[in-house]
């Protein structure tokens, strides 16, 4: 069985700060990490490999050359192989162009049974790339997977909704996008780290994956960023205090009257 896991290297948004004047992200010195949901996607693939060691797990990403560090870490967690799509021609791609490139990469890898992806990346939060890959490959997709079961070629998953979940069945091959409730990603192991540090990461160009230049990169992207800005922080809130409901209501009324709201 061959599983492809689509991953993305993202800035650790816990550490990121915003330049209040320009409204842009200060990326200097911010560590790059494996996107959280993608770690869940990889973990689910590795769990299948734990049960059946013949399973082949290939991680795939598109990004700049330094994304190889994240791929080495995926191998250190237990993935067998890693592929990096990296080319200036792919730079500036929006989700539509990105999924064109990833789908082309997946076709080149070929003979896959399952594709796992994270629900969304913490830097863009679009949740579009996974579903678009499925559309472009013409295979079924289930998003927001929070529980996964496999019997032969049949898959049963729980798909999280805002107020509950759906139980869905499908067959392979298919694309599943994963959420953090699905599992707890494992740590890299020491042996895995030695393997990851020595691993040969395949780097494929736009030409290698045979993707038409009109389908990838900044120019091919239908999305234009008009302006990005940080919403102004709201002022400090006021907590109205009082021992009884009546007192609380009285205090609230007094506060509102004082500010000429009522």
């Amino acid at each position: 069985m061959k599983i492809i896991v689509c991953v993305k290297q993202v800035p650790n948004t816990n550490e990121i700060k915003i330049n209040p004047e320009t409204g842009t992200l200060i990326r200097d010195g911010v560590e790059s990490i494996l996107n959280h949901d993608d770690a869940n996607a990889l973990e689910e693939a590795l769990k299948i490999k734990d049960r059946d060691p013949k399973t082949e797990v290939i991680v795939l990403t598109m990004g700049p050359p330094q994304a190889r560090e994240m791929l080495e870490e995926c191998i250190a967690m237990g993935a067998d192989e890693a592929v990096l799509l990296s080319d200036r021609a792919l730079g500036g791609s929006d989700t539509w162009a990105t999924s064109n490139a990833l789908a082309a990469g997946i076709r080149k890898i070929g003979n896959y049974d399952l594709i796992f992806a994270g629900r969304q990346a913490i830097d863009g939060d679009t949740a579009q790339v996974g579903p678009q890959i499925a559309e472009k490959l013409g295979i079924p997709q289930i998003t927001y997977v929070r529980e996964f079961q496999m019997e032969g070629k049949r898959i049963t998953v729980q798909r999280a909704l805002e107020d509950g979940y759906q139980v869905l069945k499908t067959t392979m091959p298919c694309v599943l996008t994963c959420i953090k409730e699905l599992n707890t990603p494992r740590y890299m192991s020491i042996r895995g780290i030695l393997k990851g540090a020595a691993a040969e990461i395949k780097v494929w160009s736009a030409e290698d994956i045979g993707v038409n230049e009109e389908l990838v990169g900044l120019k091919a992207s239908p999305t234009n960023v008009y302006r990005s800005f940080t919403p102004k922080p709201k002022g400090k809130g006021v907590s109205v205090k009082g021992d009884t409901a009546k007192e609380l209501a009285g205090n609230l009324l007094a506060e509102l009257k004082e500010k000429h709201i009522i």
Binding site: E69, E72, E73, M188, S189, I190, R191, I193, G196, A197
Partner: protein
């Protein structure tokens, strides 16, 4: 000397940091308060390959160099020094002598389970009257024909009663002094071998130290480790390796306390400004950082020499002296800069302050380190 972390070392540091912050930090205070041995996290570390890092794969190790292993002990100790010493004692004082002096049969029998963390190792040299003067061993091993018969006791043994496999020093010929000491492998559960008093320690309280008692304890003849009469050498060379791990533990404590203090100083306000805006304090932090980084260079250099097969006894002693004394200085300032909050158990620096002291004492006191270093000056 130029130093850069290899890709492998970067990943090991990252992995151990994540593990320590996620798995150990939330329980460290409780382990310390209750002097509880962390079976669960140690088992997890075993599964990740941390209990057998610097040993060859053919015996079940991970096959890293010594420097990378040392970085793992340092990272663990940043969060909890008890975990640091648990990994260190197991690796350097049990796995290392078995790997270095053991017969092929002994290595095949013991190392796979030890290096995978399925079994834990310990080391027994110290006795009530044989501390720094290790040659004063009273424990004896008599030739019983088809077995060795051990009698005596050991004190302050890290992992005592918890470990499964023990490397034990005992006199096989009292008339020969140092040269009458031999080392043995003793398994937990051997009749006549029991755990005595469990010590109530000042620090590293999650790492259990206990007395070991041998009463006509019969062990198989083939459990002699190395040659008869060579036990003192086994012990001294093991401690030589162990010193690097203790230096790493001390360095980790220093760095951990320093990092905690940096965060505290940024958020703690007095007289209308945060503590880092007070130059007297900020300058002291500059001193602390400089001493920590200097000690780290000494340690990594000593490990690097060991990895290249060069003699490094003096360098290891310098590293241990520098790292443990730096840690002593740093934890003192860390508590001071936390003020009253540094004196209560809500902040980790209180524990780090207590954990640090032992690094100047065990696996060779600072005075022994100075004996080694000065001996090399005035040859």
């Amino acid at each position: 000397m130029e130093f850069t972390y290899s890709r492998e070392q970067q990943m090991v540091k990252k992995m151990i940091k994540e593990f320590a912050e996620t798995e150990i930090a939330p329980i460290a205070e409780e382990l310390d308060a209750e002097a509880k041995y962390p079976y669960e996290t140690v088992a997890k570390l075993g599964k990740l390959g941390v209990m057998g890092m610097p040993f060859p794969k053919e015996y079940g190790g991970a096959g890293t160099d010594y420097l990378t292993y040392i970085m793992a002990v340092e990272e663990l100790s940043k969060v909890d020094a008890s975990h640091g010493v648990i990994v260190q004692t197991h690796n350097a004082l049990c796995c290392w002598p078995i790997f270095t002096y053991g017969t092929e049969e002994q290595k095949r029998k013991y190392l796979p389970d030890l290096l995978s963390g399925k079994k834990l190792g310990a080391f027994g040299l110290t006795e009530p009257n044989a501390g720094t003067d290790a040659a004063m061993q009273q424990t004896t091993a008599a030739d019983g024909g088809d077995c060795w018969i051990l009698n005596g006791s050991k004190v302050f043994i890290s992992g005592g009663g918890i470990a499964d496999v023990y490397v034990i020093m005992a006199m096989t010929d009292k008339s020969k002094g140092n040269k009458g000491i031999s080392s043995f492998i003793v398994e937990k559960g051997t009749p006549g071998f029991s755990r005595g008093k469990k010590e109530n320690k000042m620090g590293i309280r999650a790492s259990i130290a206990a007395e070991l008692v041998f009463e006509d304890c019969r062990i198989p003849k083939e459990n002699l480790l190395g040659k008869e009469g060579k036990g003192f050498k086994t012990a001294m060379t093991s401690l030589d390796v162990g010193r690097l791990g203790i230096a790493a533990q001390a360095l980790g404590i220093a760095q951990g306390a320093f990092d905690q203090t940096v965060e505290y100083m940024k958020q703690r306000k007095q007289f209308g400004r945060s503590l880092n805006k007070f130059q007297a304090l900020a300058f002291e932090m500059a001193n602390m950082k400089t001493r920590i980084d200097g000690a780290r260079f000494l340690l990594y250099n000593a490990c690097n020499m060991r990895d290249r097969g060069l003699p490094s006894t003096v360098e290891a002693a310098q590293a241990k002296l520098a790292c443990s004394e730096t840690a002593s200085y740093v934890v003192d300032k860390a508590v001071q800069f936390h003020g009253g909050y540094g004196y209560i158990k809500d902040y980790p620096v209180e524990r780090m302050y207590r954990d640090q002291k032992i690094t100047e004492i065990y696996e060779g006191t600072s005075e022994v380190m100075k004996m080694v270093i000065s001996g090399s000056i005035f040859k």
